[in-house]
Amino acid sequence: MTAALEASGLGRRYGSQWALRDCTLEIPRGSVTALVGPNGAGKTTLLRLAVGLTRPSAGSVRVLGLDPHDDAAEALPRVGFLAQEHPLYGGFTVDEMLRVGRQLNPGWDDAAARARIAELDLPLKKKVRSLSGGQRAQVALTLALAKRPELLLLDEPVASLDPLARREFMQSVLEAVAEREMTVVLSSHIVADLERVCDHLVILATGRTQLVGSIEDIVASHRLLTGPRDGSEDVTRVHDVVRETHAERQTTLLVRANGHVYDARWTVHELDLEEIVLAYLGQDAARRREAVAS
């Protein structure tokens, strides 16, 4: 079975600026993947490429084994997409928005859409423009879900929401995943939101992929080591250092461990996901500072 989302050497350039570069990754079917990265890392560009809104400048992207642009007629019905701004027709009522979904999607599940709207207590006769941000996000999600996609792409779905609406939205995504087989990719720069929902992680930094894997493996393989100021070479030769900090007498290393750390001079600590993500993003920020300085 082909991957839900597959990118190889994928890049998108706007003018002379690369919004996404050299992105190679494979997201397995049935996974719920968090796409993490700082603002401007190319998360939105990657998702837009995946749904065929934009075309690659380099490399290729395939969703469910299809080219999202060239095979649009075949791919579109199977991919759900929710853009960051949750675009909806402001002058339409919720009811009319559902009608839009029904008319533009052959696989539309009207009963499920209406049940969702009723369950969320969204007023059918009210104009979308007069809804709260959280309600609009829910209407947009309903549209994306009722299409019954095999792959659902959510671009910063909760960025504009208050904490309560954020929680409710994520809960909705969780329920949807529990109800039926579906691959979900959602981007965010808030790790806490994702940990509860996701089982896979992609870290995207300065337009390149840095880390792809299941969250379980990622947490299991990353360790924080504290040890002597000198003599870290033995460790760095074997393990991949993500972050290195030096104090007067000791060195702290955040590593992606390739196997066990045997050296007794080093104390080994476990890490939670947020610390790991922050280390990667910090590494990226440092690299960007260097790039600007040079």
Binding site: L53, L76, P77, F81, L88, Y89, G90, G101
Partner: protein, 304 residues
């Protein structure tokens, strides 16, 4: 898709219908007045038979309705207004980012675009058709007196409004596809429409169909009745005694005293050129409109 396109164009359609309704409310009573005056005063019969007392009747008719018909040159703006208005649904979809919503449903963006452009073009043609029917009826009595080639009249008779409306639509669409701002695109589109109309009216129209050159002594040729005269020169013994600029309309009477021996030379578009001129100008505007719409479509399909 058709329902969605229609729903998104509802407001604009309504505005266009209100414009048409207001026009009708004004054109029908004044038009009936003119038709009455034309038929019952015997003016119609008199023009057909070229009776001598025509001049007075024509004068009376002009005195009564001259104000109204000079107001009518403002009608030239209406096709532009309706044309740019119908570009609004597509441009505002681009401005608000809602095209991304449509493009990530199950239909291809090509179909989406076809639905939207198709509806806009058909609506523009229908609106123009309505205007044509309305104005042609309203203009008929007056056209008997002054002909239909006068610059103020030409644009609101015949079929040329089809081209104008499409042109305004196409221009606003092309601007909006690049600019993605509804109000600004519509406004600039309308200004461009007026500029294009003025340019064609004063610089291009006279050359669309080859003008007639005529030289005579005594009575002017019959084809000069209601003609659009581009130049008119009278010479006596090789000396120019009269040189008028362009003028149009009316039955030309140049039996001026003292010019009895003059040789007249005129360049003009006779009334028989009305349809060739209408067809060429319609084709010109509609052709440019199609290019603009094609450009807009190409640009929109490349948007991400």
């Amino acid at each position: 898709m058709i329902w969605l396109s229609w729903r998104l164009q509802r407001t604009e359609t309504l505005v266009a219908l209100v414009i048409l309704a207001l026009l009708t409310a004004w054109l029908v009573p004044t038009g009936l007045d003119m038709w009455n005056a034309y038929q019952h005063s015997g003016l119609g019969a008199c023009i057909v038979h070229q009776a001598p007392r025509c001049d007075m009747d024509i004068g009376l008719f002009r005195a009564r309705f001259g104000g109204i018909s000079s107001l009518a040159s403002w009608f030239n703006l209406i096709p532009g207004l309706i044309g740019v208005l119908l570009a609004a649904p597509l441009v505002s979809d681009l401005e608000n980012g809602t095209y991304r919503l449509a493009w990530t449903q199950s239909i291809t963006r090509r179909r989406w675009l076809l639905g939207k452009l198709g509806l806009a073009v058909v609506s523009a043609l229908l609106a123009a058709g309505g205007l044509i029917a309305l104005f042609s009826w309203w203009r008929t009595p007056e056209a008997q007196l002054d002909g239909r080639l006068d610059n103020g009249v030409f644009g609101t008779t015949g079929i040329v409004m089809l081209g104008y409306t499409l042109f305004a639509l196409g221009f606003a669409l092309a601007l909006g596809a690049v600019w993605r701002r509804t109000a600004a695109s519509l406004l600039v589109g309308f200004v461009a429409y007026v500029a294009a109309r003025l340019m064609v009216e004063f610089k291009v129209r006279d050359h669309l169909v080859a003008a007639v050159h005529a030289t005579w002594k005594g009575r002017p040729p019959a084809s000069m009745d209601n003609a659009n005269v581009l130049s008119f020169v009278a010479t006596v013994h090789g000396h120019t005694v009269l040189n008028t600029g362009p003028f149009s309309g009316g039955n030309v009477k140049f039996q001026a005293p003292g010019l009895g021996h003059a040789i007249f030379h005129a360049v003009y578009q006779p009334e028989s050129h009305f349809w060739p001129l209408q067809l060429t100008e319609t084709a010109l505007f509609a052709g440019v409109a199609l290019l603009l719409i094609a450009f807009a479509a190409w640009r929109v399909l490349r948007t991400d």
